[in-house]
């Protein structure tokens, strides 16, 4: 008997949505002791199916067909009280955002205790023992202190372990994990994945793991189910699906995943340096009236250079200082020390007036496509704003905008529309066009593809490559994703806690890393042993 069996499940969407159903006749199963990965891009319906299994769907998303069997019991139309009994005892769920998934005003121990108080009749002493045991089992240090602390006092990884503890304390048969590591750093992600695998092996839990990251799939899955627009297009053993996909869509998705092997493009040796930083540093000082003065060094002594026609990647986890460096370079924030040399001139402390004419030489594309464009302005206005600032005549600016839209492979006729009428990937292309309208020498991409689906990401990366070659730009590429860095960068700088710990050609950094941290990062990348893109 399978732990979970889903047959022909259909879940409807409210009228007026993109399509009629969130999930259309989806069938798959999860056996004891196996991990099934449910993969798909955003909007594929994977989260909806997970919530449907748990009975957590909102009223607007009714189950319109099919059955869900949990250990043989039909729960599709079970009563709310029966579902409440089953939750955490036979099936549990762990969510994506550990920062917001825990009640901020309740202690971690109390939140764990709630589960036990609700579902068992144990005495307070027994409950406490069980709680400490599970906290130890999820490898949290100092269990006594953990249990007494509040969520905001813990890191993202620690909170996710608490979530896992809450989910597994009563040893359910099924664990549903909805993108549990997407919001975590790559090293933390590796730890959590290992934890889930170990716990699952020890307790024999069936795990339904939802993700969009094929690296994770390669790392932990036994079987894989691929979803597209609510339909299951492929379901089978991991090796089969990943190495010999049957459906075009699966093939396309897998083909879009960048490999960890750096590309073999030879770098031009004598290219001129467009931008260099020497000893760049930024320290944040807490300046509130009565609080203790705190100093946070965001970037310390950063020295790098970007050459014409080449891409420098800055790789690091959150808090490593990579975004700070990018912002210092573009003077969106002011560096505390060091030099930023744009074509030989130091702009680190240049006053705003002298800086303005130089700003056009370096442009930046940001991470969030949904906040990078003013919602009240047309796309045309957005693109020509820059050229107009520098005295370009309106007619010429509009003509330039049209050409740029073609360059980024978008329809120039759509220039009159507003940002909300475009998708995330399209908005990112518009932002690239806006940056290129200034005809810069340096283009900075600050996690520019991190918020995009993997297939869209592949397209935008290809676009950036094409642009770099045609316009002979220097590019500074900031990312936390090692695969993306490997695909795109000629040189790589690895940052950790504000410092550059490794710096060199991509082939050397990825192939033969010298610093321990770089090695840790590479080892933590999920699915690194899997040869993606080798179809």
């Amino acid at each position: 008997m399978s732990v979970l069996e889903v047959r022909e499940l259909s879940i409807a969407l409210p009228p007026g949505s993109d399509r009629r159903e969130a999930a259309s006749r989806v069938s798959f199963s999860v056996e004891r002791g196996e991990i099934v990965c449910l993969v798909g891009e955003s909007g594929s319906g994977k989260s909806v199916i997970a919530q449907g299994v748990m009975g957590l769907l909102p009223k607007g998303l009714p189950v319109t067909g099919g059955t869900i069997l949990l250990e043989g019991e039909g729960i599709t139309h079970a009563s709310q009280s029966r579902l409440r009994e089953l939750r955490c005892t036979r099936m549990s769920m762990v969510f994506q955002e550990p920062m917001t998934a825990l009640n901020p005003v309740m202690g971690c121990g109390d939140q764990l205790d709630e589960v036990l108080r609700e579902h068992t009749r144990l005495s307070p002493a027994e409950r406490r023992r069980k709680i400490l045991d599970i906290v130890r089992e999820v490898r949290l240090p100092d269990p006594e202190r953990m249990v007494g602390s509040y969520p905001h006092q813990l890191s993202g990884g620690q909170r996710q372990r608490i979530m896992i503890a809450m989910a597994l304390v009563l040893e359910p048969a099924l664990l549903i994990a909805d993108e549990p590591t997407t919001a975590l750093d790559v090293t933390t992600q590796a730890q959590i994945l290992k934890l889930i695998q170990d716990l699952q092996a020890r307790h024999g839990t069936g795990v339904l793991f939802i993700t969009h990251d094929f690296g994770v799939v390669a790392e932990i899955a036994h079987r894989v189910a691929v979803l597209r627009l609510g339909e299951l297009v492929e379901f089978g053993a991991k090796d089969k699906v990943l190495k010999q996909p049957r459906h075009d869509y699966t093939r396309m998705l897998i083909g879009s995943v960048p490999t960890l092997k750096p590309h073999a493009r030879p770098a031009e040796a004598g290219a001129p340096v467009v931008l260099a930083t020497r000893g760049l540093s930024k320290t944040y000082r807490d300046r509130s009236w009565f609080a203790k003065r705190r100093e946070v060094p965001a970037a310390v002594d950063v020295t790098l250079e970007v050459r014409k026609g080449q891409t420098l990647g800055i790789v690091g986890e959150s808090g490593s200082g990579k975004s700070t460096v990018a912002r210092c370079i573009v003077r969106l924030i002011d560096p505390s020390g060091g030099e930023v040399l744009l074509g030989g001139e130091d702009i680190a402390t240049m006053p705003a007036g002298r800086l303005r004419p130089l700003r056009r030489r370096m442009q930046i594309v940001f991470q969030d496509p949904y906040r990078s464009l003013n919602p009240r302005r047309t796309v045309l206005e957005a693109i020509i704003e820059g050229p107009l600032n520098y005295g370009v005549a309106r007619a010429a600016a509009v003509e330039r905008a049209r050409k740029l839209m073609e360059l980024v492979r978008m329809d120039p006729e759509s220039l009159g529309r507003y940002p909300h009428q475009f998708s995330g990937g399209q908005r990112q292309r518009i932002c690239i066009a806006r940056a290129l309208a200034m005809e810069p020498e340096l283009l900075i991409a600050d996690e520019a593809v991190s918020a995009l689906d993997v297939s869209v990401q592949a397209q935008v990366l290809a676009l950036l490559e094409e642009i770099r070659e045609r316009l002979h730009l220097a590019m500074l590429f900031i990312t936390h994703d090692l695969r993306v860095a490997a695909q795109v960068c000629d040189h790589v700088a690895v940052m950790s806690q504000g410092r550059v710990v490794e710096y060199g050609p991509a082939a050397q950094v990825f192939g033969a890393p010298r610093h321990a941290y770089t090695r840790t990062l590479l080892e933590a990348a999920p699915g690194r042993d899997f040869a993606f893109g080798a179809s």
Partner: protein
Amino acid sequence: MQTPDPKQYEALSIEASAVRRQHGVWQRVRRNWSVRIAGAMLTVLVAVALAAPWLGTVDPTLFDPGSRDLVPGKTGEITTLNGETITHTFRMGSDSLGRDIYSRVIYGTRVSLIVGVLCALLALALGIVCGLASGYLRWLDGILMRCMDGLMAIPAILIAIALVAMWRGSLATVIVAIAIPEIPRVTRLVRSLVLSIREEPYVEAAISLGTPTWKILFGHILPNCIAPLVVQGTFICAFSILVEAILSFLGVGLPPDIPTWGNVMAEGRQQFNDYPHNIFFPGVFLAITVLAVNILGDGLRDTLDPKMAKRV
């Protein structure tokens, strides 16, 4: 690795199918039921205010000792400015001086609407200036916000009462006195909007595109402030109408000869037990007007700026 040809995968990529059509903002506003109902009510009220002389009223300052304390519906006599006596039906009764309540209530609509709108505009104008300054000039921020905190610490009605008492009641002083306590709230709103919009990536993009500060303020920041300010403005309008009525009712507002609803009710206090119509007619008009403005504000907020629901 071969980079996939973008055009080939456009067809398969989900992105292409996910573009949604959205109704324009102002269309949504016009379709909202609260806005429609409130809009209708307010249109009627404005029409009444404008058409006051032709709605069967007499000059609201006229009185006649012979027509005192008439019950609504009774007919009586009234002396006009020329000295003639005309017969007039006192649709809403008369007060203790023999003045026609109906006329005073209808003309009172003008005063209330004018006070409401002007107070809102004044408070918004001054609040926007202070808020922009505070949000953009860090050195000014500390002092200005402390002053605003101090101003907010004194209950609004007390400020209005004190100011009108100092300056002697007239339309201008009442408007200024009521608008002043509302300025801190607008300032706070604008300031928080400025601070949050400054953090948005599209503002950062504008900076790196070389856009000068004033263009950023007026081109990027202000337009995104309009919606919450419009909503706040309607609530200030409603509050102002109420405060003006309270001031007049307590006797510390507009002079008694100007017909306002508060004044009419103030007169009627003594006779309330026997002649409640003095209080109820203007009271009903007052409640309906303020209700309409509040409903309008709610409707605007729901369509323009749902995030405001939890800001006090």
